[in-house]
Amino acid sequence: MRTTVPVVIAFLSGLVLAVSIFFRPDKTIIGQLEPELLVWVTIIGGFTLFLGAVSITRVNFNAVQRRKKGWGYSLLTLISVFVMALPSLLPSTWSPLFGDAEGSIYDWLFQYLDKPMMATMFGMLAFYIASAAYRAFRARSAEATILLLTATLVMLWRVPMGEAFLRSIHTALPEWINTYVMNGVNMAVQRGIIIGAALGAASMSLRIILGIERTYMGKG
């Protein structure tokens, strides 16, 4: 029972969705099932967020209760969760601070705390891309040399001075980089990886539908 029911459910839901893509939604029930079942998945995820809330609360509450090292930070996280979530769950008819419209606590915290945090995290990427290039682009092997030469060439091509330099070597060099490297090799490799990964994904899907891959039930 504990193993059979999940396997059968996975099989049926997988099969229905796989088949439904071949039928027109306006003509058959089965054709309409695809968008419908995907909404179901979203709904289940919606319920599960409650478990997420329990998880983050439990981890941080335990740390505070046991006065673990750094429990103050955990307290801060706990407070932040509730200050953000609770007012948004209350109806905005009670107070303009509730709900999620402009002027609510929820919206204010998002606009003035969350957003600058996200933007700054994205800004960190520039530092990391420089240090990764510096450390990783060493001519240790033929492959690594190819990697670093192409990266350098493309970086030169991207900025005005570099482009002028490349043009001085051969007038068509910048166009060649665009045509043969970016739209030639780069595109071809991406395509090869995409085809291969798609086959891998399809094979993984098939293993799940057929119940061969059952790690989610702890069965190898």
Binding site: A119, Y134, F137, M155, M161
Partner: protein
Amino acid sequence: MNFWNKIDTLDRRWVYLLVAISVILPFILPVKLPVYITPETQQLYDAVESLPDSSIVMLTFDYYPSTIAETEPMSRVALHHLFRKNIRIVTVTTVPLGGPSMAEQVTREMAEQYGKVYGVDFVNLGYKANYVAVLKGMGSSIEAIYPTDNLSTPLSELPLMNEVKNYDDIDFIYVVADNGIVDYWISIVNALYGTPVGCGVTAVMAPKFYAFVSAGQMTGLLGGMKGAAEYELLLGQPARATTGMDAQSLMHLLIIGLVLMGNIGYFAGRRQKGKKA
């Protein structure tokens, strides 16, 4: 440990410091690295330049707040150029979050500089959902899609909008975008209604659209901050994009320099080890 050994095992924080310097420096000391005009930018500039006085241009703000470092300078150069030539502007956006307010803010700021009047010289229509329907619908009647402007003023009360009924009354469409909407401006608006479309797009998107320019479907193209900097040079008004491009050039050259140094250090280190062995 000689110099090159140290380079080989440099603490990454030195790299971070160099990055910070090369990005901040252009803001304090204008470096003014040379900028070269690409034909696509020139084409867009010429297209706007050749529009007669008091033409009407539709300018779009199809970008999200996350890409404003690249896209807002393009909106600014467009506004500079259009206002300077006494061209009247209708702005629209297909981006719900921030789109209308960014359009409002940037346009009004620039209009103030040029002494332009809202409703007469420019109008901000704002956002409407379902962009395919919006783009198609404006072909027959803009008023049917946008009964009011962004601030809920009926279009009939705006003198400029009495002259603009649909794409036939628009001489040029200047799209600034950071997403796939560009395809629709070309495949729906340019293809079906024949209004010329010129675009400013993010650097990542640009290569895809060069083909549109050579096919004549797109009248000129700005690729990211670099395109905006070229346009600023053409206008003779260096601004944010020029500063930004200086930072970009410095950063790219810095990374290339670091890679070079790292490799010299690596080989010097290896040679030394070889000697000892």
